[in-house]
């Protein structure tokens, strides 16, 4: 709450933004309410251990990089004919009832400071609507940020027995001097027996602060699978969450990150088991080079009504440099004994013996290390069911390896 966004942002800013987008009254009200709430809201929760906060969001210079009225981007949002893939403003025009009903139904627009800020100031976004029984592949959303800041909002609604695969990529285009800020909120409402795959690959410039909250509600028999790749940004605070609300719903959260120089990744994977026979699998792997730091929190929360739960979590970090730091906290919160749950986390470096073996086969040390790093990501890549995303991720990893 030490932030003074208000120095540059006020009701006028929000009204101007809403006007320019020609928004209905209810949406303006939602924005203004979020703006008003800012004063009383805390930053998104970060882990604290004695004497330190693992990620310090209070010190960010919001005043310096929040510039909502000059947002500029280059966006592709395409999908097959049978699904609606619409720019947010268009969706509000064409499907106002749907948007009004779903907006904020999964993510509380005012749940913390950065979310409320995003609610008040977002100027762009995408709505993906998949009608009943439709199976859609290849929905692509590509966002290139060309301004100081960009606030993005994505809503995915899948009707009964439908399925969709969505690929989202964020990058920065034009050079803008100074620090930049990207904020993205993603809501997924998966109706009964629907299946959502949501892949995201973040490769923003390393002057960009990145806040993202992705959350899904899974109804009976529904599946929500997330893929969260983080390569770019100066600092990332990312949360990927699923509420398993319907019986027999499932979720998988696959994460990969590769930090170098002084990047800071605070990645969170969380799942709430609220119904019976639900399954969750959380798999995250990350590599750190130079002075990069990763902070990981994984939460498996099993509610008292969640009979016959299966919940698994794995997190592995590879440290390539002595100056890097890897912090991890995998948490289990279990309120129903009819549960099989486990988590594991490891931190280590490239295996000396593996290196030695490869060097005896004539590989030079750096090439050997690079091969082992690429190999380290394989278990995660194998979980990525979308070829295109897997190839992209592999390419970005390869590009980051040392010469």
């Amino acid at each position: 709450m030490s932030t003074q966004v208000h120095a540059t942002i006020d009701e006028g800013t929000v009204r101007e933004l809403s006007d320019s987008l020609d928004e209905p009254e209810w949406l303006l009200e939602t924005r203004l309410s979020a703006l008003e709430a800012l004063d009383g809201l805390d930053m998104p929760s970060v882990i604290r251990t004695p004497g330190r906060e693992w990620t310090n969001l209070h010190d960010l210079d919001f005043e310096g990089f929040v510039d909502p009225l000059n947002a500029a981007e280059d966006k592709d949002q395409v999908g097959p004919d049978e699904v609606e893939v619409l720019p947010f403003a268009e969706a509000v025009d064409e499907h106002e009832d749907l948007v009004r009903e779903q907006f904020g139904s999964v993510v509380d627009p005012e749940e913390d400071y950065l979310t409320a800020l995003s609610t008040a100031l977002f100027s762009t976004g995408t709505v993906v609507y998949v009608p009943e029984g439709v199976d859609a592949e290849d929905v692509t959303v590509r966002t290139e940020m060309n301004s100081q800041s960009l606030f993005n909002y994505t809503l995915v609604v899948t009707e009964e027995s439908s399925s969709v695969t969505i690929l989202e990529r964020q990058s920065t285009g034009d050079d803008v001097s100074g620090e930049r800020y990207y904020s993205g909120i993603v809501e997924v409402a998966a109706a009964e027996n629907s299946h959502v795959q949501y892949g995201s690959l973040q490769n923003l410039s390393e002057e960009t602060y990145n806040y993202t909250l992705k959350r899904g509600h899974a109804d009976t028999y529904a599946t929500i699978n997330w893929i969260e790749g983080n390569i770019g940004s100066r600092l990332t605070k990312s949360s990927v969450e699923t509420y398993l609300q319907g019986d027999s719903s499932e979720s998988q959260i696959v994460g990969a990150f590769f930090g170098h120089e002084d990047q800071h990744f605070d990645v969170n994977a969380r799942v709430w088991h609220e119904a019976e026979h639900t399954t969750a699998d959380l798999v995250t792997r990350g590599v750190l080079d130079d002075e990069a730091r990763s902070v990981y929190e994984g939460v498996q929360d099993v509610g008292s009504g969640a009979w016959d739960t299966n919940s698994y979590q794995r997190e592995n970090t590879l440290m390539l440099s002595d100056e890097s730091e890897a912090d991890a906290s995998p948490k289990l919160i279990i309120n129903n004994h009819d549960t099989e749950a486990s988590h594991s986390a490891t931190v280590g470096q490239v295996d000396e013996e593996d290196l030695f073996y490869m060097e005896t086969r004539g590989t030079d040390p750096q090439t050997a290390e690079n091969m082992l790093v690429e190999g380290f990501f394989v278990p995660v890549l194998e979980e990525v069911a979308v070829d295109e995303l897997r190839d992209d991720l592999q390419e970005l990893v390869a590009a980051r390896l040392r010469e």
Partner: protein
């Protein structure tokens, strides 16, 4: 051995925890915590000036520090009213004369031990018993051979007088400063009683050193301080057992334990705690291990209304080792929040944490742990393993580990599992003729075996018996 078990079986265990003695106290401090109270305690103990100063400084810190309230998922401490807890009661035994054999102890104190179910035979076999009854160690017995070797085992108050320099150097300075947390500060202000153990260089104490504690005054707190100094190459195993009768008002136990593990020394600290179900158990225990030293914590947390206890080890010297074995059992109305903290501050340090917990009848167990590997502590490794058993749907079992790794040449592994007792296991045992309760009992006994096998036999028996009691009749 079998007769001892019979003895335990015959002990009406419910009674063991329900009985309470007529209080007879020589000195009782006023309720609440003021400078006067602290001065009175110090004065009554005839303490040197520096100790009084330390107490008063700790009191100031205590008054300035907030209650811990913002830990994720921590036990509710709102019912704890420290002002209502009498910090100091000295039993009516003129301990300055000292009792030098068991029989010299007042009958009612002997009786207390009787009720605790510590068999006579075992008692005889103990190499030394320091029994804390109402904040004072009133009985000490040391085998002559120890004294010859220069081993010191005495109560903390005595140590302040007799071993002033050692105590002055080590008491709440480097290991657990009062500023560590609010209850450590409280402890520093009103501590009373406890054990002092000093093992000189190269000496191995073959028999475990033991002390029993017992709370027996309504609304009374226990603030005993244990200080263990193991010099280079020495070896000692200290055992503390706790158990308290039930009372209606809230009791507070805020003990402090400090262990100094010298170069290549080996210290094991074992405890089975069974405070009554209205006690807040808020302890601070810490060890500092020098080069090549080994620290082992073995703890069973059975009783109390709420426990917050995270024995920690600072691996200060190259090649130091820390092993934690903990078990927590939470039944109805209990919140046992316990774990371990390890700081790897030197190269080639090793730690293992093995945690087992059982939650039942609406109880909650939580493993809360921190492993930190500092930059430069290369070649360090840590392995953490947490397993939790849950009996029913009213109970809660949480795991909240934190790992902060600032060094790349390390090997860090953490794993945790939660599950219920396997139906197949129960079925198998039933097919062999055990009834449902016995089958579950056996599975639980097997589950906690890694802990019990670390304990001397009488403790293992007591622990198993306690768990049996906790489970009796409420299974199925």
């Amino acid at each position: 051995m079998s007769s001892d078990q019979d003895h335990l079986k015959e002990t009406d265990t419910e009674k063991r925890f329900e009985f309470k003695k007529e209080e007879s106290a020589a000195v009782t401090s006023d309720k609440g915590l003021t400078e006067e109270v602290v001065r009175m305690i110090s004065d009554d103990k005839d303490e040197p000036e520096w100790m009084l100063e330390r107490r008063l400084r700790a009191l100031k810190q205590y008054q300035q520090m907030p209650m811990p309230t913002d830990w994720p998922g921590q036990p509710d401490l709102s019912e704890l009213d420290v002002e209502e807890i009498v910090p100091y009661i000295r039993p009516d035994v003129d301990k300055r004369e000292g009792a030098d054999s068991w029989d010299d102890l007042p009958e009612d104190i002997q009786d207390t031990f009787e009720k605790l179910g510590i068999p006579e035979a075992e008692r005889k076999a103990l190499s030394g018993v320091g029994a804390q009854y109402e904040s004072e160690v009133v009985y000490q017995n040391m085998q002559e051979q120890w004294e010859e070797k220069g081993v010191v085992f005495c109560n903390m108050d005595e140590a302040v007088q007799e071993h002033e320099e050692l105590v002055k150097e080590h008491f709440m300075t480097k290991c657990v400063p009062p500023s560590d947390n609010k209850f450590a500060a409280l402890h520093g202000a009103v501590w009373s009683g406890g054990s002092f153990v000093y093992v000189p260089e190269g000496v191995t104490v073959e028999m475990p050193v033991q002390a029993y504690f017992r709370m027996n005054s309504e609304g009374m707190g226990q603030f005993e301080h244990t200080l263990i100094i193991a010099e280079e190459g020495s070896e000692v195993h200290y055992i503390e057992g706790c158990s308290a009768p039930k009372y209606g008002t809230h009791n507070l136990h805020a003990g402090g334990v400090e262990v100094f593990v010298g170069e290549d020394a080996h210290v094991q600290y074992s405890t089975v705690q069974n405070w009554s179900k209205n006690t807040f158990n808020l302890n601070t225990k810490r060890a500092i291990a020098e080069k090549g030293g080994t620290m082992e914590w073995v703890s069973g947390s059975m009783g109390s209304k709420a426990t917050m206890l995270y024995p920690s080890t600072i691996l200060k010297g190259r090649g130091a080792t820390d092993n934690h074995i903990t078990i927590a059992f939470a039944g109805e109305g209990q919140d046992i929040d316990t774990g371990a903290k390890v700081y790897h501050n030197a190269p080639n340090t090793k730690s293992t944490i093995e945690s087992k917990s059982i939650a039942k009848d609406g109880g909650r167990t939580n493993y809360r742990g921190l492993v930190q590997i500092a930059d430069g502590a290369e070649g360090s490794s840590t392995a953490v393993e947490c397993d939790a058993l849950m009996f029913d749907n009213e109970s809660t079992s949480d795991t909240m580990p934190y790992m902060e790794i600032q060094e790349s040449k390390v090997d860090v592994a953490h794993e945790a599992t939660v599950g219920k007792i396997g139906d197949e296991d129960v079925f198998y045992l039933q097919s062999r003729g055990l009834d449902d309760d016995d089958a579950k009992q056996m599975i639980v006994s097997g589950f906690i075996e890694p802990i019990t096998e670390e304990l001397p036999i009488e403790y293992a028996v007591e622990l198993n018996r306690l768990i049996e009691l906790e489970m009796e009749g409420s299974l199925g």
